[in-house]
């Protein structure tokens, strides 16, 4: 994977800088260029199909909603394209919906690309090695690794209920799958707690870690620059607009 030689925080910091400055700029061709750039990166990392599918699943309903709110039920704009009863489509409304759709698309595509490029083990290790509270690394790791386990457990419970011959309506099906899943999971959590506490969790002080996270002085400089860009980039872009207003 292309992102495996990069520190997870480098990817996240660069994505935050790109999203913040692109949103501040609010220029359609910059947003389109960022989305194209993300697609190129995804093609190089062999995850373009996943990126497109996952992004479309979020962007399409959001864009349809923005079209309904700003274009179909337009309350502003003078260039009327269609007027039929409560539906008034204006050119300005369509432009506004497109601009909002692009703004959302940049956030979604950049965010999902980060998820696809970042290795979850590296992310957990990076959080552990950072100055964040040790509890945060545990919670992120435990949730990410519990998800497939619980999904498997839910599947097994469903199969067991089918073997019992229980295949009633949706409410019964939901109840018979979710109640054993929740009770079993909480029971497991209750058993885990004293074991973790007995091992001195959450640990204070430094510990030796076997997993190393790829990092370099160059990446650190990129991260600092990206954080500065996230904070100052929008200000630099928007300050002249505010002055004008």
């Amino acid at each position: 994977m292309a992102g495996s030689s990069l520190h997870p925080f480098t990817i996240l910091a660069v994505a935050a800088a790109v999203v913040a400055t692109t949103t501040a700029a609010g220029i359609w061709w910059i947003s389109a260029a960022v989305i194209t750039g993300c697609l190129v990166l995804a093609i190089r990392a062999h995850c373009a199909r996943k990126l497109v599918l996952l992004s479309c699943a979020i962007i399409l309903p959001a864009f349809t909603s923005q079209l309904l709110i700003h274009a179909v039920a337009a309350t502003h704009g003078t260039r009327i394209l269609l007027a039929a009863g409560p539906v008034t489509i204006t050119a300005e409304g369509l432009g506004l919906a497109a601009a909002l759709g692009l703004r959302t698309a940049v956030l979604v595509v950049a965010g999902i690309l980060c998820t696809l490029l970042i290795d979850r083990h590296q992310l957990v290790a990076a959080i552990d090695l950072s100055k964040a509270p040790p509890q945060l690394g545990y919670l992120v790791a435990a949730t990410l690794f519990l998800l497939p386990q619980l999904a498997g457990k839910q599947h097994a419970i469903g199969q067991a209920q089918q073997l019992r011959g229980v295949d009633a309506g949706w409410f019964q099906r939901l109840r018979l799958r979710s109640v054993p899943l929740v009770l079993g999971s909480l029971q497991d959590a209750a058993i885990r707690a004293p074991h973790l506490a007995a091992r001195g969790f959450p640990a204070t002080g430094s510990r030796t870690r076997w997993r190393t996270v790829p990092d370099s002085p160059c990446q650190r400089r990129i991260r600092y620059a990206a954080v500065a860009c996230t904070l100052l980039g929008p200000l630099a872009i928007l300050a002249p607009v505010w002055m004008g207003a």
Partner: protein
């Protein structure tokens, strides 16, 4: 015996830091909300629009992270092991409900359960963490972290004041929580995303807009239509699940014992 086996050291400085972070986070959240509601900035994508979107996004996210930073170091191990399960349940039950084609979200059951069992601080932390982790799969939820924290916080508050002692009180508490969460989250939907992210909710907002409402007003009304019902059901289901837990499991939480969260049921 201590539930942690190892006693947690809490110094005055540590406690003051937690209070300071909580205060800053709360002030930031309420201040941003009041600023947006009172000024209702014009233009979503031109002039000040981009700045308002970024400022709202940043302020709500920062407030949520500050609240998480204030709470996380103080959580006992029993709560820390409960939170990942709750987060996974939020996602899995949300998907399960989606798969049976009913028009509900029910994606905060885990957060509400943590609030009921471990208190409002743990509930708020679960809400923020859940949003942060869910944003890995759906980045648009990120600015709603403060709203999710509020759900957990209000669930814990409701449990503390006896909402689980009678089964009918839980949905009533959920209804009120839904109103508060809907109102607080509306500016994010309006000013960051220019509306909502779902087609059904978008149609409702469009209907209010065509009746002459401002964007914030239309989004708030839509939130007041969907959130209270959803939260009432979530609170009720979470309460039923907590009732179904064995007494030794629910009684293992200090919060449940101290505030007699389950009333007569807890003494079985």
């Amino acid at each position: 015996m201590s539930p942690h086996l190892i006693l947690v050291e809490t110094s005055d400085r540590h406690r003051q830091r937690g209070r300071l972070l909580t205060t800053i986070g709360t002030v930031l959240l309420i201040g941003t909300y009041l600023m947006l509601v009172t000024t209702q900035p014009d233009g979503l994508v031109d002039g000040l629009g981009q700045g308002v979107a970024l400022a709202t996004f940043a302020a709500y996210l920062a407030a949520a992270i500050l609240l998480l930073a204030a709470v996380l170091p103080d959580l006992p191990v029993s709560t820390l092991t409960l939170i990942p399960v709750a987060l996974a349940l939020n996602i899995l039950l949300g998907q399960l409900v989606g798969s049976v084609m009913i028009p509900l979200y029910l994606d905060s059951i885990g957060t509400v359960m943590v609030g009921f069992l471990a208190g409002r601080r743990a509930g708020a932390a679960t809400g923020v963490l859940g949003t942060l982790i869910w944003s890995l799969f759906s980045p648009t939820v990120l600015p709603f972290a403060a709203g999710a924290a509020l759900v957990g916080f209000l669930a814990g508050t409701a449990a503390r004041f006896g909402a689980l002692r009678r089964v009918y009180l839980a949905p009533v508490a959920g209804l009120f929580s839904g109103v508060v969460v809907g109102v607080i989250s509306a500016p994010v939907a309006a000013f960051v995303f220019g509306g909502t992210s779902g087609v059904g909710t978008g149609a409702v907002v469009a209907a209010f807009r065509s009746m002459g409402d401002s964007l914030l007003s239309a989004v708030t009304k839509q939130a007041l239509l969907s959130d209270p019902g959803d939260k009432a059901l979530v609170f009720l289901l979470a309460a039923l699940l907590v009732y179904a837990l064995p007494g030794r499991l629910s009684g293992g939480f200090d919060f449940v014992r101290r505030y007699r969260v389950l009333g007569q049921r807890g003494t079985r």
